[in-house]
Point group: C2
Chain length 241, copies 2
């Protein structure tokens, strides 16, 4: 039997060169949108509506939604939450409906609309993602959101990490996939790789989000599988905590 393909797409710019239609796309924005989405579902959120603009998001406030988002890594005035995973923990998240706008992640979800399914992936739900993808036996595109269309280390590395786990049952396709796998292997060998090499290091320090970064790089904290359905994200796996 022919194995399905696994592709790491290292920036949304490449999406147009890939066979999105019919594939499962996993949107990746480790710092911090997709991590925070997983945390929200892990804490009992009912749904998350991903939105492009601040204005669209703000309009959901009246409808009883919590509104969340950031621009250039900073909170937006009048919003309930920013983009830190720690702001998606606690009682206020349980059964909450959330409207969220982010710089990169939301854009990728909207750019993947032709996909068979769109999932949300991060290190914090990595095993849930891998387990599900293996059960589906469909072509997979691991879509690194990057930063303003540029590649970044953490999203590319996560794509590589998932591709490495799928390698036996899927066929890694495209040189970008091998490059991402090689990056993750290098990061595994040197635990300080990310902090030494991330070009956004100064930004991270400036925004005072070191604890966020540490959290976002931890694996399997939440057994959740956020999936995009009818304009919103819901959780395919009921929370187990």
């Amino acid at each position: 039997m022919k194995k399905p393909k696994v592709i790491v797409c290292p920036s949304p710019l490449f999406l147009k060169t890939l066979p999105v239609k019919g594939s499962i796309v996993v949107v990746i924005d480790i710092l911090r949108a997709t991590t925070s989405m997983c945390v929200a579902f892990g804490n009992g959120a009912l749904e998350i509506i991903p939105l492009e603009s601040i204005e669209e998001c703000r309009a959901f406030k009246e409808k009883g939604y919590l509104i969340a988002g950031e621009r250039d890594g900073k909170m937006i005035e009048g919003f309930d939450m920013g983009n830190s995973p720690f702001s998606f923990m606690g009682e206020h998240i349980k059964n909450a409906k959330i409207a969220m706008t982010t710089t990169n992640g939301t854009k990728c979800i909207h750019a993947s609309k032709k996909a068979h399914q769109i999932l949300i992936g991060a290190f914090v739900n990595m095993s849930s993602i891998i387990h599900y993808l293996k059960s589906q036996q469909r072509d997979v595109i691991l879509l690194a959101s990057g930063w303003k269309d540029k590649m970044n280390l953490e999203d590319t590395a996560f794509g590589g990490a998932v591709a490495l786990e799928l390698e036996n049952e899927f066929t890694p396709t495209e040189d970008s996939t091998r490059i991402a796998m090689t990056l993750y292997e290098a990061m595994q060998k040197d635990k300080r790789f990310f902090i030494k090499n991330a070009t956004q290091y100064d930004q991270i320090m400036g925004l005072n989000i070191v604890e966020d970064v540490k959290y976002c790089l931890r694996r399997d904290l939440h057994q959740v599988l956020p999936i995009y359905q009818n304009g919103r994200l819901v959780n395919l796996i009921p929370k187990t905590v």
Copy 2:
């Protein structure tokens, strides 16, 4: 003194996100356009005109030019040369004027027109490139042509190799640069990395260009520095052979 930047741009798609103006852009198409350009100058070619279309290229035949090019890795009917480095060696190249069209490399040259200078880089002239870049102390963009806008191993790895050599005197900028450097380091540790992992491996075997590939991955065979000036490439370093 502030060090100049070195950036690996892993596909022409990213060029619009980078500060091309004022930078020196090194166009990289290891398999096989930029390698063959270096070989041509190493064998005494006077100039190479890079062109987008087959028709433009064909028109230069009447003006006494040798015409060269490929489409999808195959020779074009009526052309003097394809894209193999071996076809740019020998007496017919000495003092020749060449018009050349290629799938990816030419496109990158034209996309870089706002740069301070455009150079042609390949493993076969790697030391000439590095020596020149160090002498200029200007921001550098190492532009991997890739394959139909996608990233490929060999162009990204060459970008990484040059960035590693420049690292002490330049500041590597952008996560893509670190990713390319990591890729080249991995390839150095495993000499069979490229042949094991290149997605175009089957294509290479099908086109019967294994010898071309071996040649294209060899370092410093030609002390040449092709530079784009007034619509054509000329050699800044007179041939020494």
